[in-house]
């Protein structure tokens, strides 16, 4: 187990280097970011040259990358164009997005798995067909449509929520955006759970448990659900990273100043330091989440061992 974790952690190093290098190159290919800093007017050459030197943009790309990597290990993610250190931007953005992700994952787990169990146990019944149809609709409608509709109906027409989230972005305010963000994954979780439950329902250990006379609830929760959760946990685990990075659309619609907002600003202003910094952290989160998922397998199914 310990050796497995260490091996997985070591594997992160090349992934980490490769990912940052790729982003670094991609952002740089877009051209000189200083050109856009002065608006519709050409920056005067002296100031432009000095800004370029200040942000290290006058050096060759490989040198910029090495300096950047060197700085990262000392916790210095560079400075955004508005003079703020990127770490400061992260400190304000990540808590917000993590809250949003928690809300989204919460809905995925509670609603998704509940619906999945209900439909899985009643395959072919009207409930099952209804939920299946519903998930199909949710999956096929893009997030920005769901988001804009929710904002328009709940926020503007009915006045149940505020159309935008305040700067504090409390859990209460994030419920609707979280639900919107979770919607597509939620539908997948429902379908995954349903299939898995329906399959395992006919397995020997369930029949044995029922034959032993265990209460139905215990059979469902301890025996059936626990074994059916493995694919679902895999999906939810990888979804954590996807949700954090994919929040760009949802965050923009509800004006949430999280990671998506910062990355969007960084891309529009071609701010290499912001984009690379945030994406680096996202890559790390993604990898750690994946590792945790793999470790969780053993908890769900003790037969799984790590070498």
């Amino acid at each position: 187990m310990g050796r497995y974790v260490i091996r997985r952690l070591l594997q992160m190093i090349p992934v980490f280097i490769g990912a940052t290098l790729l982003i670094f190159v991609m952002v740089n290919v877009m051209g000189d970011p200083i050109a856009g800093l002065c608006g519709d007017r050409q920056c005067d050459p002296a100031t432009a040259a000095q800004l370029r030197a200040e942000f290290g943009l006058d050096k060759p790309l490989w040198q910029q990358y090495l300096t950047y990597l060197g700085h990262i290990f000392t916790g210095d993610f560079g400075t955004a164009f508005n003079g703020q250190p990127v770490t400061e931007l992260m400190a304000s953005a990540f808590p917000v997005t993590i809250r949003l992700t928690i809300v989204a994952i919460f809905f995925e787990i509670v609603i998704g798995i509940t619906l999945g169990v209900i439909t899985g146990l009643r395959r072919g019944r009207p409930v099952d067909t209804g939920v299946l149809l519903l998930t199909l609709v949710v999956i096929s409608v893009p997030t920005f449509v769901t988001g804009l509709l929710a904002q328009l109906l709940l926020g503007v027409k009915w006045g149940w929520i505020k159309p935008s989230v305040s700067a504090d972005a409390t859990f209460g305010e994030l419920i609707v955006p979280g639900l919107v963000l979770a919607s597509v994954s939620l539908a997948y979780v429902t379908r995954l759970t349903r299939t898995s439950i329906a399959e395992n329902k006919r397995s020997d250990y369930v029949r044995t448990a029922v034959a032993k006379g265990l209460p139905r609830r215990r059979v469902t929760l301890r025996h059936l659900l626990r074994n059916s959760l493995i694919p679902v946990v895999t999906f939810i685990g990888t979804d954590i990273g996807a949700l954090m990075g994919g929040a760009i659309v949802t965050e923009r619609i509800f004006n949430i100043h999280g990671v998506g907002y910062q990355i969007y600003q960084g891309v529009v202003r071609q701010n290499t330091q912001t984009v690379v910094g945030f994406v680096t952290i996202l890559v790390l989160i993604f990898m750690v989440a994946n590792l945790l998922v793999d470790l969780l397998y053993a908890v769900l199914d003790p037969r799984i061992r790590y070498a």
């Binding site: 007017r41 002296a46 003079g83 703020q84 509670v110 209900i118 149940w160 159309p163 935008s164 139905r216």
Partner: protein
């Protein structure tokens, strides 16, 4: 029993969602107090220093917390004395400026001649990386403090001299009769001593001398400005304060306005323009701003610099149906242009409706004829470049191309050439790599005809992106700048504009309006010529 259990589960989940969203709706609804106005805002691109702010969002804040020597009248655009007691000159080159007594910064420090001179020296100095440094380019000694290459040999402008507590002199490198009228621009604002002594603290919470002071500022999220009670000027704030909220998407801001969550939106999204009037029940403003959109040409490309190309440019101009495009695509928030300035200047300020003449009237048959006479389109096709990331430029570029194609009877005569980001667009313009005409927008720095012509068309001027050069134009501009009589100076500028017209140095498209919407909680909302709301005049009902 089984059914009951599951039903209970589902009911609980629904209850949780409903209860929680109710919390979201009923939560902190008190962000805008009784007398404060909440308004939409964008994250400023640069640190908030007067000489470093070149976009509207940062400019809004500077307009609230700073007052300069002059201020542009929100209705007429005329430069009126604010902190300036008097600005005297006998030769349009040497100016003596007297600052009014009794003005203070909101931290109590007096505004003196030194406050201005220090601020201007800071702005002009190369080592401070100020993006608006070129505003000080007319002052003697600028080439020493801000050389084009290399390091600066002086830290202060030799043309600035403090002659008394409240007086200082300015010496320019050339005659510039309308120089005093440029002093209303935010880059010329005075700065307190704390700006220089503790710069980092100042930038995180700027201190100025305007009707508002900054209460709190969370970068990237929100700034709350509070009325400064001891403000000595006569344009005191008529509300208790303004809360600027950062929005990434103007659609969200607009929805917030409709839901009563926001009082003022100064950028109504294009898609909503059609409904804005009825949605807002008349609380919708659509007034001209000092912005003109043009199509510029790459004169560094020999194919566009032939003798016949003038006719081609005129032909292209005639092939564009401006009225139709502004009516349908922009919902009349833009006005077809008939000169190269802006209506906000007024007749007296040099705006001349119809100066462009027949060249700006839609005339497809004449257009086709002119293009043929001029030797046809260079390369057989024009590509109009634009940045695709912001400003919904695609719609109108496609419409312009459509109009040109119809007029010339050739489906491939004109195509749009989208460029991914604004930075890359500017980059390619700067490197003179444009494959053909490109969109150009000009938002005035100050309401002067000079500002619509000199930076854009003077040889090697800062925003002459197409590198157009014309001796006659240059000499007329020089004469105009040297002319002490304002009326005559404006006439000379208009003659220079005539040269731009005769050569069709750029195709004028339309003048842009500012659009804003406000809630029924506020009144007296207006936009100035820079399409920035006049915040201090807004009253809360």
């Amino acid at each position: 029993m089984r059914g009951a259990t599951h039903a209970k589960w589902a009911a609980c989940a629904v209850a949780v969602v409903l209860a929680a969203s109710a919390c979201g709706g009923g939560g902190d609804g008190s962000s805008s107090g009784s007398g404060t106005v909440s308004a939409s805002w964008g994250d400023p691109q640069n640190p908030l220093e007067p000489a470093n702010t070149n976009e509207v969002q940062g400019g809004k804040v500077l307009d609230m917390i700073f007052r300069g020597l002059k201020r542009y009248n929100a209705e007429t655009g005329a430069a009126e004395d604010m902190l300036a007691e008097k600005i005297e000159t006998s030769d349009s080159q040497n100016f003596t400026i007297t600052v009014k007594d009794g003005w203070k910064f909101s931290n109590g420090e007096a505004v003196t001649a030194q406050s201005f001179v220090d601020a201007w020296n800071y702005g002009a100095s190369l080592k401070n990386n100020q993006k608006n440094a070129y505003f000080f380019g007319y002052i003697e000694g600028y080439d020493k403090t801000h050389p084009d290459t290399g390091t600066q040999s002086a830290d202060t402008l030799s043309g600035l001299k403090v002659t008394g507590t409240n007086t200082f002199t300015v010496k320019l490198t050339q005659k510039f009769s309308t120089f005093p009228d440029t002093l209303g621009y935010a880059a010329f604002s005075p700065l307190p001593k704390s700006f220089f002594s503790d710069h980092a603290a100042w930038v995180s919470k700027p201190v100025g001398n305007g009707p508002y002071s900054i209460g709190s500022y969370t970068k990237g999220a929100q700034m709350s400005l509070v009325k400064w009670d001891d403000y000595p000027g006569d344009d005191k704030a008529k509300n208790d304060g303004v809360t600027l909220k950062v929005y990434t998407d103007n659609n969200t801001a607009y929805n917030d306005l409709l839901a009563g969550n926001l009082d003022l939106v100064d950028d109504v999204p294009a898609a909503q323009l059609k409904n804005a009037k009825s949605d807002l029940n008349g609380r919708y403003i659509n007034t001209p701003a000092g912005i003109i959109q043009t199509i510029a040409f790459p004169f560094y490309d020999p194919e566009w610099n032939t003798s016949g190309a003038t006719k081609v440019r005129q032909g292209l101009s005639m092939a564009i149906n401006r009225q139709q495009i502004t009516d349908t695509i922009f919902q009349k928030t833009r006005t077809p242009a008939s000169d190269w300035t802006s209506p906000v200047l007024g007749e007296k300020g040099g705006f001349q409706e119809g100066l462009c003449g027949k060249s700006c009237d839609y005339n497809p048959s004449e257009a086709k004829k002119l293009v043929q006479e001029g030797g046809g389109l260079p390369g057989g096709q024009v590509k109009i470049s634009y940045n695709a990331d912001t400003g919904s430029h695609k719609e109108w570029v496609d419409a312009v191309c459509n109009s040109i194609n119809n007029a010339l009877g050739n489906d491939k005569a004109c195509v749009g050439n989208p460029i991914g980001t604004f930075a890359d667009f500017r980059n390619q313009i700067g490197q003179h790599k444009m494959p053909g005409p490109f969109r150009a927008g000009w938002q005035m720095d100050y309401p002067l005809i000079q500002n619509f012509l000199q930076p854009l068309y003077y040889t090697n001027a800062s925003s002459n992106d197409g590198q157009w050069s014309n001796k006659q134009f240059d000499s007329l501009v020089n004469q105009a700048n040297a002319e002490t009589d304002t009326t005559k100076a404006i006439q000379l500028f208009q003659q220079a504009e005539g040269v731009v017209r005769d050569n069709m140095a750029a195709i004028p498209l339309w003048y842009q309006n500012g659009s804003a919407g406000y809630s029924d909680k506020v009144s007296n909302v207006a936009l100035n010529q820079f399409s920035v709301p006049v915040y201090n005049e807004i009253t809360v009902n």
